[in-house]
Symmetry: D2
Subunit: 336 residues, 4 copies
Amino acid sequence: MIIQLSKAITSMEKEAIVSQIGGLGYKSNEVKTQYGNYLVAIGKKEFDIRKLGIMPGIADIHRVSDDYKLVSRKWKVSRTIIDLGDDVVIGDGSLAIMAGPCSIENEKQIESTINHLKANGVRIMRGGVFKPRSSPYAFRGLGVEGLKLWYSLAKKAGIKIISEVMQVSQIAAMHDYVDIFQVGARNTQNFNLLDELGKVDKAVMIKRGISGTIEELLYSAEYVFSAGNEKLMLCERGIRTYERASRNTFDINAIPILKEKTHLPVIADPSHGVGIREYVEPVALAAAVAGADGIIYEMHEKPEEAFSDSQQTLDFMESSILIKKLKLLHQLDSVI
Amino acid sequence: MIIQLSKAITSMEKEAIVSQIGGLGYKSNEVKTQYGNYLVAIGKKEFDIRKLGIMPGIADIHRVSDDYKLVSRKWKVSRTIIDLGDDVVIGDGSLAIMAGPCSIENEKQIESTINHLKANGVRIMRGGVFKPRSSPYAFRGLGVEGLKLWYSLAKKAGIKIISEVMQVSQIAAMHDYVDIFQVGARNTQNFNLLDELGKVDKAVMIKRGISGTIEELLYSAEYVFSAGNEKLMLCERGIRTYERASRNTFDINAIPILKEKTHLPVIADPSHGVGIREYVEPVALAAAVAGADGIIYEMHEKPEEAFSDSQQTLDFMESSILIKKLKLLHQLDSVI
Amino acid sequence: MIIQLSKAITSMEKEAIVSQIGGLGYKSNEVKTQYGNYLVAIGKKEFDIRKLGIMPGIADIHRVSDDYKLVSRKWKVSRTIIDLGDDVVIGDGSLAIMAGPCSIENEKQIESTINHLKANGVRIMRGGVFKPRSSPYAFRGLGVEGLKLWYSLAKKAGIKIISEVMQVSQIAAMHDYVDIFQVGARNTQNFNLLDELGKVDKAVMIKRGISGTIEELLYSAEYVFSAGNEKLMLCERGIRTYERASRNTFDINAIPILKEKTHLPVIADPSHGVGIREYVEPVALAAAVAGADGIIYEMHEKPEEAFSDSQQTLDFMESSILIKKLKLLHQLDSVI
Amino acid sequence: MIIQLSKAITSMEKEAIVSQIGGLGYKSNEVKTQYGNYLVAIGKKEFDIRKLGIMPGIADIHRVSDDYKLVSRKWKVSRTIIDLGDDVVIGDGSLAIMAGPCSIENEKQIESTINHLKANGVRIMRGGVFKPRSSPYAFRGLGVEGLKLWYSLAKKAGIKIISEVMQVSQIAAMHDYVDIFQVGARNTQNFNLLDELGKVDKAVMIKRGISGTIEELLYSAEYVFSAGNEKLMLCERGIRTYERASRNTFDINAIPILKEKTHLPVIADPSHGVGIREYVEPVALAAAVAGADGIIYEMHEKPEEAFSDSQQTLDFMESSILIKKLKLLHQLDSVI
């Protein structure tokens, strides 16, 4: 049960509500986000919801049958829109495009990427400065120094930044230099990280776990929201299956399912979703048609020289073509 | 190695070629289909292919590095087109739509379905008369009698029929009353069935196994082709994964991968691919954009009364909308 | 609901029972096997089971909440024992060992295998004469002629034969030369084959599908039983997962789960279950400890020269050691 | 390539070796653990290894073809033995048993568990004080205060403690009160956590990821070892598959495969591996027979009242029986 509290609620009124909920055998969790003040009440007993509804200080009240609550579309039918400033908006019916290299490598690479994005009207750049790598001996990224350099160049160009945060201690270090914190597929259930990202006022994109279920992804989002951050989006990036002809199996079903189950924007990552360069375009187009609010993909001036993920990275030419097709398709999509 | 024999080849010339191939340590399989006469030579030794190429009776010769040979796009870049007659063609760049109920139930149902298809310009009707069911106590279909009735009504309406064949003995019984034999997901590796379907001159659509790999699907197609039947298409219908929010996981990656690896038409089945009615449309549209040559889906006048698969079956209204969107999308697709 | 009919039931009594069941809204299926005569009634309505129980001609009556009925342990707690004759018995608390090559190759191979089995006190030999192969160009087995040769040699030696049947038409051809029909992992849901195997009085072992669920395996067994054959056993042989360090993932959980859910004997196939020779022994021992009624494994005098599956085939030395350990373990197992 | 440095190596000698390695195009990583001082050299060029071997300061040198190095059995054939003190040793050929509740709940629960363990001769107790939970509204554990209480009681009883650490900041807080840090299945690829656990001198047990491969588990172990901690063991705890009859699919194959690929001890967790109380025993016995160095399972005086995982938790009676059987089996195992 989600109880939206009115802005003018007094502490006495709140106490009365909490006490009433407790009396019904429910446990209440207070949640304060950028946009609202909620009580999430967890329990199973049946009672007349109107008894609560009439209490002073309550703006609205909703039963939510899903086990995740705040991220469910059962109580909030209108879709969450994330405004990154400077007219960069996600979830408002437009198709957000986020592109860039797997790893941030050096100034020259950042500049050429930014130029490519600007030439193609793309406003969000992706890139990793902390890289989760299976092997401890592999390149682990440029770190915060790389991020700062990237940020200064991107800001000048009016480009927003999405980058992966791997642990709690990086949140503060990265905070001023990113527009979207990305939670990677190996950290989808790093609950401490999620808790802490709930305490910042920055957008967060959570990737589905490597073998995570759709429900687990929603629960992970619930962690962030219930800790205080509504600026949240989810990302389908392919799941691990027995099939070996592709790196992962992009779960196209997950796009409409997530759109039905949650009010949060849903982003698709075709680069990891298929893992082979020549198939990134058709999978990206498919995801857009299936209803994704955005596409995030890997792109590099010279994919074969990229520090990581080169086999699934588009070059600038392929990227330009993909962007054009995505835009055309999205126009049609708005009609049909 | 695939050796295309010339039409005018003499039996002496052929013997000479077979003998030459044997001398090189290769095993040769002669394949005679509706469209050509081939020798498939299996072996590993390196040799100068021109020595063979100059032999009389050989039209063309191709090395094929894939383990499947005749269905590979490595030797035949042009796409296979299947002409069902009466201007119903699959694989020629158009988008084939095949729709109908899971099970054929009765005359009234057949008629209303045909009327719906005609009203929407759809030329191929799907339906099961032999139903593979997990439980021996479930409805197993109307059998050949149902098929005959269906065929007579469809023929009058200019509608082609695709229906599942479950065992060798049904091939002859069904032969005169179907336009496409469907091999179901439980029979993808029923090699005897595939062998026998290679001996008829009817189109065959092979569904990917419930947990079949893309490579296994291609091998299964190789069985049919190498037994003499080139009128072949493949169908992605979702694979079994750990995810429980959908019945299967539609493998959107498989569409462009199959289009790259084989010259055969690729059909998508979003009904089984996602298994939930409200998500069939977005998955169907995604598959079309990803490059599918056709879409096959389940549709029923009153899905809730269907004998089987009701939870994934569209009603006529939903079906009409889907068809319209597919056509619009396909027009755009031809442009971009 | 399973109604065991008394041996002395008259046809009038039976009609009365069927009619009574129909009146309750249940559909009844008559099943006549080697050992009994049953009515399986499928329906959902609640009623007083005693009203049926008192009818003449009924020996016993059981509600079975599982969707599969006859193979469920819910009605038959005592375990099914399969007597192959000549003191070869499966499911009586002993540990059945079945070993032999993947493919039957020639007389010499058969003889050396038989000698090895006799020397080690093993009474059942496995071997394929019809081989399901992904590629149509691979060796497909010696066929019925090979089987006849094998049978004549095995019979002389007092060895029983288990061999895979791939299609309905092979049943009659193989019938007199096998002691156990094996249904392979690609045919677990070949329902026509299962139906026909229900009509013979020979033991049948059904392998779990390559990605089949435990429940599907039980349903497949229900096909055979409900068609008239109770001499049935099930085989866990590993399932397809994302893990690539082994050929399949042997599902050790399936052993105790199957033993709980069905009264049929449960056999383990560690050769396919792990697919790598050096790990066959520990997986075999584990399966025995987990409660398997038998172990079936691949063994060859010279594995590296075997026509198929050489990478997972034990040599005679390894086989002898495995047999000794299995026997020791089984003795302990009977104690603990 | 792993270069074991001699204890008496001088810094000049070390520099010379590093420089020589660099000259060969290899990148060297210095690793200093409790037991040794190594250089791990990563590169691909072929060269005469003896040129390095003769340099002063080198004790031994090994090529390791695996991509993980220090945890590979390719260079260290003798098995790693972990001595926890007070005669509690893991990996020395004995079978380590670790048992206890999913969550530490209160003093009474700790005491009754300890009494049960002592009565059965078990020396290691498991229990969670930080619980990773899918839902943010679920019980998250007693935290460090609970751990301190537990530790004081366990120490008095001569019982060692294994408990899960979920994030870097907990390492210091838990350090003095645990004997083994457990890395849970959701943190197998939390590389920052692994790095930090490499810097403490406490034993670490890494659980395989929920859908982690065997190779990824070995890489995760390489993180800890290469950061300085050799007191490492691995735990198979079931993987996520499509099968729904069990919570996870215990990968019995992984036991012998891991024993072959690494010198680290291998522990089995049958509780999570099957997830259903009545099947924990057979899976535990199977894992022991397959070669596990230890078994960790969930146990509670009143499983139905446990705060978490009650459906897979043994009661004291079942636990006593399991321990007895494991000991008996292990005795036999040492013989066969």
